[in-house]
């Protein structure tokens, strides 16, 4: 008997696992490895030069900065929205709950042109901001707006179920012991939802870093100013600079994998804490 798999009377394991592994290898793993093999053709110095030119560095700063700001906004307002949806009753709540997932369902290109139209100088929202000296469309702020839009559901949907699971008795017990609402929130509720909040933040951040469709319309795409890293990859590709595009892609991939690892650790932490409670 092999120790690889525990005995089971259910059939189909070999077929199911075999198909899963072959499919995953052909569609995901082998193509992904192509990026690393291509980059390995460069020497380390060549690689380092390509991924650290001023234009590339500026794109990292912009991509990570805007993504971080957007994820932070999502954490704050995502928590607020999850709280309001779980705790309060108001008209239209069910509809709003359903629409939270709109950024997942709406194609990014549609989101991109809609946000651009809104925040342009003559747009519904832009016309009020322009007199105040705030330009959103075609600036880094526009990128922040687009990334906030696409990342919104992550925090809401990770925090919501945890918030629902907090037992009212826990809060009642704290209240009986003399805690006020703010103390109850800070000491009882917030620690309980913190791992979920961090997970949501990390998911929104990871998604924002790789985002392309919603950003390119609103960004302006000026090198050194409003050019995100994914766009830079495309630009290099269109110039047939495969090596350059791939090298930058590898940097992004490595960062994405690290984020994936962090998200997994956070989710493990969250489950672990819930299991202890």
């Amino acid at each position: 008997m092999s120790t690889f798999k525990q005995h089971s009377v259910l059939p189909g394991f070999n077929l199911a696992l075999g198909f899963t592994l072959i499919y995953l290898s052909l569609i995901v793993l082998i193509p992904l490895s192509a990026a690393f093999f291509r980059t390995a053709e460069l020497t380390w110095t060549e690689f380092w030069t390509v991924v650290t030119t001023p234009r590339v560095l500026a794109s990292y700063r912009l991509t990570f900065g805007a993504s971080f700001a957007a994820a932070l906004t999502n954490a704050l307002f995502g928590l607020l929205i999850a709280w309001v949806l779980v705790r309060y009753q108001f008209t239209g709540k069910r509809l709003i709950d359903a629409l939270i997932d709109l950024p997942f369902a709406l194609p990014t290109a549609v989101a991109g042109i809609a946000l651009t139209a809104l925040y342009a100088g003559n747009g519904w929202i832009g016309q009020f901001l322009e007199p105040l000296g705030i330009k959103v469309a075609f600036t880094p702020i526009g990128i922040y707006v687009a990334l906030t839009f696409i990342g919104l559901p992550f925090v809401v949907r990770t925090v919501q179920p945890v918030l629902e699971d907090i037992e009212t008795e826990l809060e009642e017990a704290a209240a009986m012991l003399g805690a006020n609402r703010l103390q109850i929130f800070l000491r009882i509720i917030f620690p309980a939802i913190f791992p979920a909040l961090m997970t949501g933040f990390a998911l929104a951040f990871a998604r924002a870093i790789g985002e392309y469709g919603s950003v390119i319309f609103i960004a302006g795409n000026m090198p050194m100013v409003s050019e995100i890293t994914p766009l830079l990859i495309i630009t290099k590709l269109e110039q047939y600079d495969y090596a350059g595009a791939t090298a930058i892609a590898v940097v992004m991939l490595v960062i994405s994998f690290i984020l994936l690892l962090i998200v997994n650790l956070l989710q493990w932490w969250s489950r672990h804490r819930n299991a202890l409670a």
Binding site: L24, P31, A34, A105, A117, P153, I209, Y212, A245
Partner: protein
């Protein structure tokens, strides 16, 4: 992307000591609604507004012209291939992961999620590296006159890549929660593997399956970045709906761009409606148990 969440209506009913004062509640609700209005509702409405601004005639002309029809056709083809493939994959992966204990299961589960953490641009790029002219298989493909990149197969492949995890990640937790006892009972009663799957497992996961298919389909039809890299943007031939939107927009043909975009927005709304319906079904099923 989300797992199915169930909300308990009675959780909102609270006594005075576990409830914030009215003014706090109103402020928080208002803040949330203002934020959602600015970032969700107004953009959604603006799509339809911009689409119909120049009148219904312009709208229908934009979505029925030959290039738009070709884009619709290609989008449907890509989804019609990607969704069934990922459906079979999702069921197979969930069967292996949820019903059996084996080594490396956690790694496999993480690998399935991998496409979600890869930028769509990179998803497109890696297929160029494999199938493009300078790619691994490029020379061989050119010799045999097979076009994948800048052609329909590339678009389908990129779509399959970005939608790989959708159905699997809905089914895995669902099937894990349901355990293996019903299947074991069926086997003891003499059912074969296929009988067990068709009569026991499949009916139990049908709503989760539909949920995954809906989300997978929405992404398949709406994917932009990955498809953009491998498409070549040939009007009427390798343009999907989202790419068609981009072309029209870049030609300053805003009314037409938004008209086509409104089709995709409508698809998103239908997706959300079915999703909400399925969620309520799942909640019903859960409360029954």
């Amino acid at each position: 992307m989300t797992t199915i969440t169930i909300s308990y209506p009675d959780k909102a009913r609270r006594t005075a000591i576990t409830q914030e004062p009215v003014w706090v509640r109103r402020t928080l609700i208002s803040l949330a609604l203002i934020f959602l209005a600015l970032f969700l509702f107004v953009p959604l409405i603006s799509v339809f507004y911009e689409a119909l601004k120049k009148g219904v005639d312009v709208y229908f002309a934009a979505i029925t012209e030959p290039d738009a029809r070709a884009a619709i056709r290609l989008t449907l083809i890509a989804a019609a291939i990607a969704v069934p493939l990922n459906l079979i994959f999702g069921v197979a992966a969930a069967w292996a992961i949820a019903k059996f204990e084996f080594r490396g299961k956690n790694i496999l589960t993480t690998l399935i999620d991998l496409p979600f953490s890869v930028s769509p641009i990179i998803a497109g790029l890696i297929y160029v590296l494999v199938f493009g002219l300078q790619g691994w298989l490029g020379p061989w493909l050119a010799e045999h006159d097979i076009k994948i990149i800048f052609a329909v197969p590339g678009i389908v492949l990129a779509t399959v890549f970005v939608t790989v995890p959708f159905i699997a990640r809905e089914l895995i937790p669902l099937m894990q929660a349901q355990g293996t006892e019903e299947e074991e009972a069926a086997v003891i009663l003499g059912a074969s593997g296929w009988q067990t799957f068709w009569r026991i497992t499949l009916p139990n996961i049908k709503w989760g399956l539909l949920y995954g298919v809906i989300l997978c389909n929405a992404r398949a039809m709406g994917e932009f970045g990955a498809v953009s890299v491998v498409s070549g943007h040939i009007r009427g031939q390798t343009n999907t709906l989202p790419l068609h939107v981009e072309i029209l927009y870049n030609e300053y043909n805003y009314a037409a761009a938004f008209a086509v975009a409104s089709l995709l927005a409508l698809l998103a709304l239908i997706t959300l409606a079915i999703k909400t319906f399925v969620e309520s079904k799942v909640t019903q099923q859960k409360t029954k148990e």
